[in-house]
C-alpha cells in the first residue's frame, strides 16, 4: 500500500531529469510549501485544477501530490510539499520536504503564508530560504487579515527579506495569476530572490562563519549543499545534518570538533541550549521584520466568531456530547446513504455474472470472468459509496477546523491508552465497516498513532460481523442472547483499547510524540476542495484496493478450482482483508 504505482517514479524521474538540464528549460518545477492551515491546498487546487497526480515520496508513506499545467508552451510542474511548522529532523514530513529541496533542486519554492499569522509562517519560510533555492512568498488570505485590521506592506517586506511577496486569496483565486507569473520569473532568473539570508545576531554569525570555513575544506561537499544551511543545522544539533557530515564530508571529525567548540561557546554565552538559541534568534529576526512592515489598525474584536463557537464546542461538559453528535451525523451519512448504494452495486455485479453465464459458453474463460474477475472487482466497488461519502464528511470536518477540536475534546480519554485524540474517528467508523474505518486513520498525522489505530480498529464489531455474531449468540445462548450480544460488542471495544495500550508499550515504544497543535479559526469549507479531496481518496482506493483484490481474486480462482474449495479460499482472503 505504501509504494507508489509502478509507473509513477519512472515518469517522474524522466521529468526531473530533463528539468535539471540547463539548456532544456521547458519544464519549470515549482515546489509548494507552507504551514498547516495556511491555505496551501486551496492555492495548489487553484494552480493545478483537476490535473493532479498523487503518489508517495520514495520509500516513505508521506503523500506526494503533484500537478502539471501548460502555459504558453511552458510546462510547469507543481510539487506539493507536506505542511509543516518547521524544518527540523524530528518528523518524516520535515525530512522529506528538505530532502526534496536539497536533492531535486526545484526551480523555485512558493511558500504559502497566512497573512493574519505572519510570524509563525515566516518562521518556516526563512528555513526554506536557508536551503538555498529561490523562493516566493504568497501572503495568503489577505482578505481575512484586512478584516481583522492587519495590513502588510508587501513591498517593504520583500525589501527586508530579499524575497518577492504576492498577496493572494486562495479561495477566490485572487492574486493566483500574479503569483504564478512572479514564480516563473524567479525560476527563469528574471526576478531576484534570496539575495540575503536571515541574520542570527553577531554571536551566532561568528560561530556560523567559523563552521562554514571548516565545511568549505571539502570542495565536493561544498557544491552539494548550501554551506550556510548545514552550518546552522549543525549548531541546532540536527541529527540529519550530522549524518550528512559523517557520511559525506572528507574531514568529518574536524567539522564535529569545531562545531562542538562553538556550540559550547554559544551555550555559555546565552546560558541556553544552542538549538533554543537559534530558534529564538530566528523569531527575533522575524519580529524585527514584522515591526517594520505590518500595521495592525484596530485591535482584534474582543470575541471573534471562532471563540464564540469554541465556547460551546469546546465547553468542558458540552464538548464530548457535541463530538458524538457530529460523529453520529458523519456515520449516518456514510452508512445510511452508502449501504443501499453498496447493495445496488453488489446486485448489479450479480446480474452481470448471471448475464455472462447465460450468454457465454461454459468453460474456463466464463468461469474466470464471472467467479474470478467480476467477483473481485465487485468486492472493491461495493465499498466505493462508503469511501466517497466518508471522505466527503471527513474533508468537511478537516476544512471547517473541527477536526482539531475533536482531538482536543477526546484526547484525555484516548491518551490513557497511548492513543491520540483523533483515533476515535477511525474507531467510530469501524463500527460501521472496517474498510472505510481504516482508511479514515489518515486523520492521524503521526505514523505510530496511525499504525496502532489501524491495528486495533477491526476489533470493533462492524456491520458485517454483527449478523454473524447475532446468529451464533442466538444459537448458543437462546435465553439471554441480547445481553450476550452487547457483551460481545463491548468486548470488541475493550480489546481494542487494551491491545492499543499493549502495542504502544511494546512494538511502538519510544519517545512520546508531542500533541502540540494549532486550533485553526473556523472557516467555511470550499465545495471545490471537498470534491477534489473526495475524488483523490476514492480514486486512490480504487487503484490500490482494486489492483490487490483483482490479483487476489484471480489467484483464488486459479488455486481453488472447485466451487467448494473456492469458497474456502475466499473466506481466507476475506479474513486477511478484515485483518
Amino acid at each position: 500500500m505504501n509504494t507508489p504505482g509502478p509507473q509513477a517514479p519512472r515518469r517522474m524521474r524522466r521529468r526531473f531529469g530533463r528539468g535539471n538540464h540547463p539548456e532544456n528549460k521547458n519544464i519549470i518545477r515549482i515546489a509548494l510549501a507552507g504551514n498547516p492551515n495556511s491555505g496551501k491546498t486551496s492555492i495548489f487546487n487553484a494552480l493545478t485544477g483537476q490535473h493532479q497526480h498523487i503518489g508517495n515520496y520514495p520509500g516513505v508513506t508521506v503523500e506526494k501530490k503533484s500537478g502539471l499545467i501548460n502555459i504558453d508552451g511552458k510546462i510547469i510542474e507543481f510539487i506539493d510539499l507536506p505542511g509543516t511548522y518547521s524544518l527540523s529532523a524530528y518528523s518524516i514530513e520535515e525530512i522529506v520536504s528538505r530532502d526534496f529541496v536539497l536533492n531535486e533542486k526545484p526551480d523555485v519554492i512558493v511558500d504559502v503564508l497566512d497573512s493574519s499569522n505572519l510570524d509563525r509562517h515566516l518562521y518556516l519560510l526563512l528555513q526554506f530560504q536557508e536551503l538555498g533555492v529561490p523562493i516566493v512568498g504568497a501572503l495568503n488570505m489577505t482578505d481575512e487579515a484586512e478584516e481583522k485590521g492587519i495590513h502588510i506592506n508587501g513591498e517593504q517586506l520583500s525589501t527586508i527579506l530579499g524575497i518577492p511577496f504576492v498577496k493572494t486569496v486562495g479561495n477566490t483565486g485572487a492574486g493566483i495569476d500574479l503569483l504564478l507569473d512572479v514564480a516563473i520569473k524567479v525560476a527563469g532568473g528574471e526576478l531576484e530572490s534570496n539575495k540575503r539570508h536571515l541574520n542570527y545576531g553577531n554571536h551566532v554569525e561568528l560561530a556560523h562563519n567559523a563552521i562554514i570555513d571548516t565545511l568549505e575544506l571539502d570542495n565536493k561537499f561544498k557544491q552539494r549543499y548550501s554551506m550556510h544551511w548545514i552550518a546552522i543545522k549543525l549548531l541546532e544539533k540536527d541529527r540529519d545534518a550530522e549524518r550528512k557530515i559523517k557520511n559525506e564530508h572528507q574531514f568529518a571529525d574536524m567539522v564535529f570538533s569545531v562545531t562542538t567548540e562553538w556550540r559550547q561557546w554559544l551555550e555559555k554565552h546565552y546560558s541556553e541550549d544552542s538549538e533554543v538559541v537559534i530558534g529564538e534568534q530566528r523569531y527575533a529576526y522575524i519580529h524585527g521584520a514584522i515591526k517594520e512592515t505590518v500595521i495592525q489598525f484596530r485591535k482584534r474584536k474582543v470575541i471573534d466568531i471562532t471563540e464564540q463557537i469554541d465556547r460551546i464546542v469546546l465547553n468542558r461538559y458540552l464538548g464530548i456530547p457535541i463530538f458524538f453528535a457530529v460523529m453520529f451525523v458523519i456515520y449516518q451519512i456514510t452508512f445510511a446513504l452508502g449501504n443501499p448504494l453498496s447493495d445496488g452495486i453488489s446486485a448489479g455485479c450479480g446480474q452481470l455474472s448471471k448475464l455472462l453465464t447465460d450468454i457465454m459458453p461454459v468453460g474456463v474463460l466464463q468461469d474466470l470472468l464471472t467467479n474470478g474477475i467480476i467477483n473481485g472487482v465487485g468486492g472493491v466497488l461495493t465499498f466505493l459509496p462508503l469511501v466517497i461519502l466518508l471522505f466527503m464528511g471527513l474533508s468537511f470536518l478537516e476544512d471547517t477546523g473541527y477536526m482539531s477540536r475533536a482531538a482536543f475534546v477526546m484526547d484525555k480519554f484516548l491518551h490513557i491508552f497511548g492513543l491520540h485524540g483523533r483515533s476515535f474517528i477511525p474507531f467510530m467508523i469501524s463500527t460501521g465497516c472496517a474498510v472505510p474505518g481504516i482508511m479514515s486513520a489518515r486523520v492521524l498525522a503521526n505514523r505510530k498513532d496511525r499504525i496502532v489505530t489501524i491495528l486495533v480498529s477491526p476489533l470493533m464489531m462492524c456491520g458485517a460481523k454483527a449478523p454473524v455474531v447475532a446468529m451464533l449468540v442466538a444459537a448458543f445462548f437462546p435465553e439471554n442472547s441480547t445481553l450476550i450480544f452487547w457483551n460481545v460488542w463491548l468486548f470488541g471495544w475493550l480489546m481494542a483499547f487494551v491491545l492499543a495500550l499493549i502495542f504502544k508499550r511494546s512494538l511502538f515504544r519510544g519517545e512520546q510524540t508531542p500533541f502540540v497543535m494549532e486550533l485553526p479559526p473556523y472557516r467555511r469549507p470550499l465545495f471545490k476542495n471537498v470534491i477534489i479531496h473526495m475524488w483523490e481518496k476514492s480514486s486512490e482506493y480504487i487503484k490500490k484496493a482494486g489492483t490487490v483484490i483483482l490479483a487476489a481474486s484471480i489467484v483464488v480462482w486459479f488455486y481453488f478450482p472447485t466451487q467448494n474449495r473456492r469458497r474456502n479460499g475466499w473466506m481466507f482472503i476475506e479474513i486477511i482483508l478484515h485483518l
Binding site: 482536543f408 519517545e511 494549532e518
Partner: protein, 84 residues
C-alpha cells in the same frame, strides 16, 4: 504588598488558570517536544493567555503569537512561566 509585585513567581504553564496571561521563562523539555514548542512560538519572554482547559484540565488551549494552540497537561508542565 510590595513583595507581591517584586516577587516574580515562576511556575509551570499547567498551573495557570483559564483566562490568565503569562510570560514564558524557560522550556525545560528536551528533544522533539522542546523543538515543537519552540517552533510554535514558546520562546523566552513571549506572552500568551490560557484560554480554557478540557475536562480533567487536559489538554489546555493557549493563545500564543496570535493563534490558538493546544497542549497536553504533561507538555504544559515543561514550560516555566511567570503569571502576569
Amino acid at each position: 504588598m510590595n513583595t507581591e509585585i517584586l516577587e516574580k513567581t515562576v511556575t509551570d504553564l499547567s498551573q495557570i488558570v483559564s483566562g490568565k496571561k503569562f510570560k514564558v521563562a524557560k522550556i525545560t523539555a528536551a528533544g522533539e517536544i522542546r523543538r515543537r514548542l519552540l517552533d510554535i512560538g514558546f520562546i523566552k519572554n513571549q506572552t500568551g493567555c490560557v484560554i480554557r482547559k478540557a475536562l480533567l484540565k487536559d489538554p489546555i488551549e493557549i493563545e500564543i503569537k496570535g493563534a490558538m494552540v493546544s497542549l497536553r497537561r504533561s507538555e504544559a508542565k515543561l514550560i516555566n512561566v511567570e503569571e502576569i
